[in-house]
Amino acid sequence: MNTESFSHLWRSTWAICRKDVKLYYAKGPIVVTGVLFPLFLWGAFYIGRGVVPRE
């Protein structure tokens, strides 16, 4: 694959990614369940990792 076709492929891929983000991923429910909720869970476990359970 030459440089020109690689550049075209990259730009096309990027255009499709932007379209998909705009159409499908940058939506309230997707952001909440797909980004914020996993981040919150990860953060909760991360912060709570050093806590020793009380007997």
Binding site: S5, H8, R11, S12, A15, I16, K19, K22, L23
Partner: protein, 305 residues
């Protein structure tokens, strides 16, 4: 080199043979029409030529590039207005056009310049920020045409581009098609509108049952069909039926009062004879008109057998 070349294309869907040995060539800058009844194989042929479907056998080439062996090069030269497709409904008209522009490898500047020009040309500029889902069917169809043109393709496939459009929009699309032809774009057009095909196309192929049954210019098809032209002449006074019968004996004809109807396959000679007849008998021609067979008659005759 032909702009579009189909060589012995075959495609089956289960037991149904959708395309059965279709071969044709389209010259650069030509408008080539594909006419046929529903299910004749028009859309399947276009899908093969645009690389959407792979044929069971045969070859499809665009500007010399094999559509299936060299798909990117072939597609970069091609624009398609499919029969059943929609722009992304949740993207605006502008974003739809820009997306296709980027897929054709255009820079942001070039894509936005062409998008603005095409939207203005097709009277969509005012609604460019509206989502495609909120556009009317005609507007969406025009947007599809704009999306096919943004890459400035050398070969354009139009699958029923004016279906569902109002008269003015259809006329605009037809005039755009002729402008594109004048700019050297090769166009393959399928339509159910036989008169439209006759008006736009340099050559027409009539396809039925997956096979091309006739190819030629609209005029050639009319001649090949063997249908008749009617010449109706009205003189300033009554005509002697016996005398007229003798004069026009080479053609089927009717004489009624001051009117003669001549039925012929080729109209030039009978018209000359009508003038000679009037001159020899000092008759004045009040009215003369010819009714050649129209393309719809030809289509029905060829498809109907």
């Amino acid at each position: 080199m032909s702009a579009i070349e189909a060589v012995n294309l075959h495609k089956r869907f289960g037991s149904v043979s959708a395309v059965n040995g279709v071969s044709f060539k389209v010259k650069e800058g030509e408008i080539f029409g594909f006419l046929g009844p529903n299910g004749a194989g028009k859309t399947t042929t276009i899908r093969i030529l645009t690389g959407i479907l792979k044929p069971d056998s045969g070859e499809a080439r665009i500007m010399g590039y094999d559509v299936h062996k060299d798909p990117v090069k072939a597609r970069m030269l091609t624009g398609v207005v499919p029969e059943e497709a929609n722009p992304y409904p949740d993207l605006s008209a502008w974003d739809n056009l820009m997306l296709v522009g980027y897929l054709y490898g255009l820079s942001k500047h070039t894509a936005s310049e062409r998008a603005a020009r095409l939207l203005k040309l097709l009277d969509l500029y005012e609604v460019r920020e509206r989502k495609a889902r909120s556009l009317s069917k005609g507007m969406r169809q025009k947007l599809l045409v704009a999306m096919a043109l943004i890459g400035e393709p050398k070969v354009l496939f139009l699958d029923e581009p004016t279906s569902g459009l109002d008269v003015l929009s259809a006329r605009k699309i037809r005039s755009l098609i002729l402008d594109l032809k004048n700019n050297g774009v090769t166009i393959l057009l399928t339509t159910h509108n036989v008169e439209e095909a006759g008006e736009l196309c340099d050559r027409i192929s009539i396809i039925n049952g997956g096979q091309i049954v006739e190819t030629g210019s609209p005029d050639d098809l009319m001649i090949k069909s063997g249908l008749y032209t009617y010449i109706s002449v009205k003189f300033d006074r009554q005509v002697d039926p016996e005398d007229a019968g003798q004069f026009f004996k080479d053609w089927e004809h009717r004489v009624q009062g001051s009117r003669i109807l001549v039925i012929c396959k080729e109209s030039a000679e009978p018209i000359v004879r009508v003038v000679e007849y009037a001159k020899a008998r000092s008759l004045s021609i009040i009215d003369i008109h010819t009714s050649p067979p129209n393309l719809e008659d030809v289509f029905v005759k060829i498809i109907g057998g």
